[in-house]
């Protein structure tokens, strides 16, 4: 648990879908790492590539974008978001940031298991990325 608490994971949630989903996890009193920080937005499409890069620069270890996926109520927003995330991956590689530290996923209001799974997987990815950087196996 100690390693997990030493990491900061940013969860970008949508007000209509994954933010209530995170509340559902809370209402079920399910446990996850306290190193996770949830922010809510109308839609993650609002963030430019530079926002993500700045997060990493500031010390955020991993970012999970919990979008509404193809159920997004805003016309064309999910397509734009996925295209932007693809461009962020390119910038991450160029800046030596492991792309596994960014994940675009879909979480709804009742996706408790998926919510926890994404956090667990991101924790593993961050540990692996740290180990790779230090040249040792995770």
């Amino acid at each position: 648990m100690g390693d997990h608490n030493n990491m900061k994971i940013l969860l970008i949630t949508t007000m209509i879908s994954s933010y209530p989903g995170a509340n559902t996890v809370g209402q079920a009193h399910l446990h996850y790492s306290p190193g996770t920080y949830i922010i809510r937005v109308p839609d993650p499409v609002v963030f430019p590539e530079s926002f993500y890069m700045r997060c990493y620069e500031k010390g955020i270890d991993g970012i999970i974008i919990m979008s509404s996926g193809s159920d997004c109520p805003y016309e064309g927003a999910y397509r734009r978001l996925s295209e932007r995330v693809a461009r962020v991956y390119v910038q991450m590689k160029e800046n030596g940031i492991d792309p596994s530290r960014l994940k675009l996923t879909t979480i709804c209001t009742v996706c408790k298991a998926a919510f926890l799974k994404e956090i667990n997987e991101m924790q593993k990815n961050i540990l692996q990325a740290r180990a790779d950087k230090e040249g040792v196996a995770a």
Binding site: M1, N5, K8, L10, I16, S17, P20, A22, N23, V25, G26, Q27, H29, L30, H31, Y32, P34, G35, Y37, I38, I39, V41, P42, D43, V45, V46, F47, P48, S50, F51, M53, R54, C55, E57, K58, G59, I60, S70, D71, C72, P73, Y74, E75, G76, A77, R80, R84, T109
Partner: protein, 602 residues
């Protein structure tokens, strides 16, 4: 990487930021895990925070009074409450700010219960550190917040309902009974829609024609403005003020002004392609709607005769055109398969089977299904009844879809499949006639979808904002959906959806003006260099446009998605209340180390 300067806007630049922070114990729900006093002490170090307090129940009257008193007596001009989820009490505290004379949008609600204390039990120190960072992030966000005002537009007390089926008529009646004017537009030459095709309907066994007549009589009695043989030519405007152009049979255009629109455009039946289970090649293969029409007026008899031939063995096949799988089924015109469940066809099929046996008790009926999904109250009874009446059920999988083979003399057919119910035994079922339980597909309303930029789901039906939280609203303000334009549903469900849509519209148009949340795009004209990059991102016609060399937003048309924000290099365009500078401030707070609990006095 360049650092953007995080400053409040010019609007509040001259004002001293005086944030009050209030941390709720929630009667122990939070304070049993989070050290609320440590959060208060940590936040007191923030230069923007003038007052920080903790209290047992912030949502209680004494809790709200703490805030109101501090606003009035200590000139606090921004409020952060760290407590439960904002979905529970954000409105409560905004109202408290209003009572204290402060703009209600100068408020930030931080969730340290559902997303902290309840999920980090036993990790009190880490949960407290998280609460400090989250609260600090709330302070950073609200420090960059300008006062906002709700968007107010005039509201026309009239509604256009598009589609004169059961859902459209029910919506129209509910609306007119709430005092709103209604224009009901139907492209056919009479009201009733798909219900006109039906005989008796489950679960009441009423005649569909009686239901339609009752509704139509009520519509006429209420003197609803009904337009038959009409189609939508153009819709312009925005919530409260839609201009609807209606084209009549004579091509004459009439205009109606409406405050809101209800879409009740209905569905189409799935049409099997030629050769699908023999459909179109053999006259003995028909769809369920065709079969229902065929037997509707047939009298009870010992014999069922179709096209001059005695039918002894009748087979039904479920899920034709529904729950399709890529690589297994032929794709639709857009290249996609119908992978959704059409929901109503299982009950509709079993209802028809029982009705058929009522008329022709000597028939052998075979029912070939993938799953039986009789989801509604009392629907399972049709399955039970059919089982007891000797219907033989076979269950197939996508690996073994029934194979149709016409008999050599062309008068019948054999269906071959592996039956799951008999441990995958291969069975050959003789059929004198085959009924395909076809599902619902979205009606082609591409003119409306394109005109209004309506969201559609992967199933191509219109897509609500949220299936549970906002089930009859589209993201487009002022446009509601009723019935099967949203997805497969039966008449009962369509009527419920119509009632819900009418209720939503009634609330929206209950006053002469509509107040909307101000969370839409806003342009800082001083920063906008007129590059027009934002225009290409906006999907909503008229929401964003250029004038006087900079971008302008029509707040009534903007849905606040933020697609335009991400492409603006100088950050001239932002969603009010959710600016990129605010998010940067939040990230700074989440990232910082100096507010660790260890640094907080005991």
């Amino acid at each position: 990487m360049e650092e953007e300067k995080n400053t409040q806007s010019e609007e509040n630049e001259s004002e001293e930021i005086r944030v009050g922070v209030y941390v709720c114990h929630c009667g122990g729900n939070i304070s049993d895990v989070v050290d609320t006093k440590a959060v208060v002490e940590a936040l007191k170090k923030n230069p923007n925070v003038k007052i920080a307090k903790d209290f047992v129940f912030m949502c209680s009257d004494p809790g709200q009074k703490l805030i109101i008193d501090d606003i009035i007596e200590n000139n606090i001009n921004r409020i952060v409450v760290s407590a439960c989820s904002p979905t529970l009490h954000e409105t409560t505290f905004r109202k408290a700010l209003t009572r204290a004379g402060l703009n209600p949008y100068l408020y930030e609600h931080v969730n340290i219960r559902e997303q902290d204390s309840w999920v980090h039990k036993g990790e009190n120190e880490a949960a407290t550190a998280k609460a400090i960072r989250l609260t600090a992030a709330g302070v950073e966000k609200i420090a960059r917040q300008d006062p906002l005002e709700p968007i107010v537009v005039n509201a026309e007390g009239h509604v256009v309902v598009i589609g004169g089926g059961v859902a459209g008529m029910r919506a129209a009646l509910a609306l007119i009974k709430r005092g709103l004017g209604v224009t009901l537009i139907e492209k056919g030459d009479r009201l009733g829609g798909r219900a006109l095709e039906l005989d008796r309907v489950y679960p009441t066994e009423e005649k569909a024609s009686d239901i339609v007549s009752q509704l139509e009589n009520a519509v006429r009695a209420e003197k609803i403005d009904v337009r038959l043989n009409c189609e939508i030519e153009l819709i312009e405007g925005f919530v409260g003020n839609f201009d609807v152009q209606i084209r009549g049979k004579d091509s004459k255009i009439d205009k109606v002004r409406a405050g809101a629109i209800v879409l009740a455009t209905g569905f189409d039946h799935y049409q099997p392609y030629e050769g699908e289970f023999g459909y179109g090649k053999s006259p003995i293969v028909v769809t369920l709607p065709e079969f229902n029409k065929l037997i509707a007026d047939m009298p009870q008899s010992d014999k069922f005769t179709y096209k001059g031939k005695d039918i002894k063995n009748l087979a039904f096949i479920h899920c034709v055109g529904s729950r399709q799988m890529e690589g297994v089924h032929q794709p639709q015109a857009d290249g996609r398969v119908n992978d959704y469940c059409s929901r109503v066809c299982c009950t509709a099929t079993l209802h028809t089977i029982n009705k058929t046996l009522d008329k022709f008790p000597n028939l052998n009926i075979f029912d070939l299904y993938k799953d039986i999904r009789t989801y509604g109250h009392g629907h399972e009874d049709y399955y039970e009844k059919a089982s007891k009446r000797g219907v033989t059920f076979f269950r197939y999988t996508d690996d073994s879809i029934p194979e149709y083979a016409p008999s050599s003399n062309g008068s019948g057919a054999t269906l071959t499949m592996k039956d799951v119910l008999t441990w995958n035994e291969e069975v050959s079922i003789p059929a004198d006639m085959i009924v395909l339980a076809t599902g619902m597909v979205p009606r082609d309303i591409s003119n409306l979808v394109g005109m209004l930029k309506l969201p559609t789901g992967t199933d191509r039906f219109l897509q609500e904002v949220h299936p549970k939280l906002r089930p009859v609203e589209l993201a487009n303000n002022g446009i509601m959906i009723a019935g099967t334009c949203q997805g497969p549903m039966d008449i009962t469900e369509s009527c419920a959806a119509a009632g819900a849509s009418a209720a939503k519209v009634s609330i929206l148009l209950s006053k002469k003006t509509i107040e909307m949340d101000p969370y839409v795009a806003r342009v800082d004209e001083a920063k906008c260099d007129g590059c027009k990059l934002c225009l290409a991102e906006c999907e909503y016609k008229g929401a964003l446009f250029m004038a006087e060399s900079y971008a302008h937003v029509n707040p009534a048309l903007c849905v606040g998605c933020g697609a335009c924000v991400a492409v603006c290099p100088p950050r001239a365009i932002n969603i009010a209340g959710w600016t990129l500078d605010q998010f940067d401030g939040m990230i700074d707070a989440i990232s910082m180390e100096e507010l660790e609990p260890a640094t907080v006095p005991a």
